[in-house]
Amino acid sequence: MCCSESIAGDGRRETFFANELSLVKAVQIQETLPRGLKPELLPNHIAIILDGNRRWANEKGFKELLPNHRNGGRVIKEIVFLCCKWRIKVVSIFAFWFDPNAIFEQVDALMCLFEEVMQNDLEEFMGYNVQISFIGDKSKLPKSLQELIATVENSTRGNMGLHLMIAINYGGRYDVMQASRSIASKVKDGSLQVEDINETLFEKELETNCAEFPNPDLLIRTSGEQRISNFYLWQLANTEVFFSVKKLLDFEEEDFIEALISFQKRERRYGGN
């Protein structure tokens, strides 16, 4: 629940109006929420591992993957806009990460598609007031994509709605490593003392620190695979995990709602604290 800005010097009036606005917001969200979901139990941050396009194509007998990836983008957009409607604060999407075993042509096609989506859909995201950030090692991406990423981030920086974090060429171990490197640099130049290093400080060095809620409350992975695949290794310590058997292109609003209901039913306990 967020508080409104002060409209009067009287502290009690501020609190009264802040609570009233929060109540109005909760009622508005409740009106848009499907049955079974409670606004006060919605996660602040949902992370999604996109998976299953290739297998979906194989099952259906499609040889070309690109149309599937394009349709996958549409599924993701639908989920993101649902999250906007339901006032989820942060959504993270694990797009892809480079691996030596990956087939170059597929990676190349995927990146072209990514550029296409970003160019065509930016206006729609702006309409939903979505702030978009990209995390991961962007230095290895094509120049054109790097420029597009910068444009998208700059264009959406002032948006105050949902924060969409797209992990592109991101690895959980890479993130932890770069945080370690950053801390080592700060210790070396004297801006940080060794005794000040703790978990909280370490988290601030991770790429997810750009978000108001950097650690996901809920992780959804499509396609039935049950692993993290080097996504948010550090950030998932206390995250509820939901593995959906549906492949990405079969993942619909009702499946997303099922994941949220499952999340709400589980009593949340953060590792004994």
Partner: protein, 189 residues
Amino acid sequence: MAFTNESHNLDLNAVTDLICWCKQLGIKYITLYDDLGKLKGNQKDLFRCLDYKASLLDGNNNHPLTKTNGNGYTRPRANGTPSESINYIKGLTILSKQEGRQKFVRDIKNLLTVEPDRIDIELVQKHIGWTSDPEMLVTFGTKQCLFGFPPWQLRLTEIFSLPSHRNITYKTFIDCLEKYSRTTQRLGA
């Protein structure tokens, strides 16, 4: 194996069953994790129970640590120490939340003497990595959550969830391993 929200309700009998089944199936390395550290705190009892199970499995009814009651079942003496169970303890690690992110931060501090530009994934792995990352993680409990399990090691680990470790049957455990055997890793985009 991670006992997520069952730390308050651990059944050492069931835990040792799981250890013995793993060992009998040839699994070399077993890590037990509960965030509250109850297993660590009860290591003596755990090893005593494991010793008893080991003696039953090895068919040693004359084990000095056991005595029979009227029903013919053997049970351990009160002050038993691990002996026959040495093969079952080898490769066994018991962890709690302290070995998760807290330990990682402590280990990272050791890296601070290195030039920052030299820090890469391999170097971090050397400082904090285990002998090998777990291939499979089984979580027991109603919540499907990692509860602070050491983060670095779970990069490609297959995660399975079972509602409880209490009263777990051998068949349930084998079903889990069979699901694992059917998984396929697809790396990359």
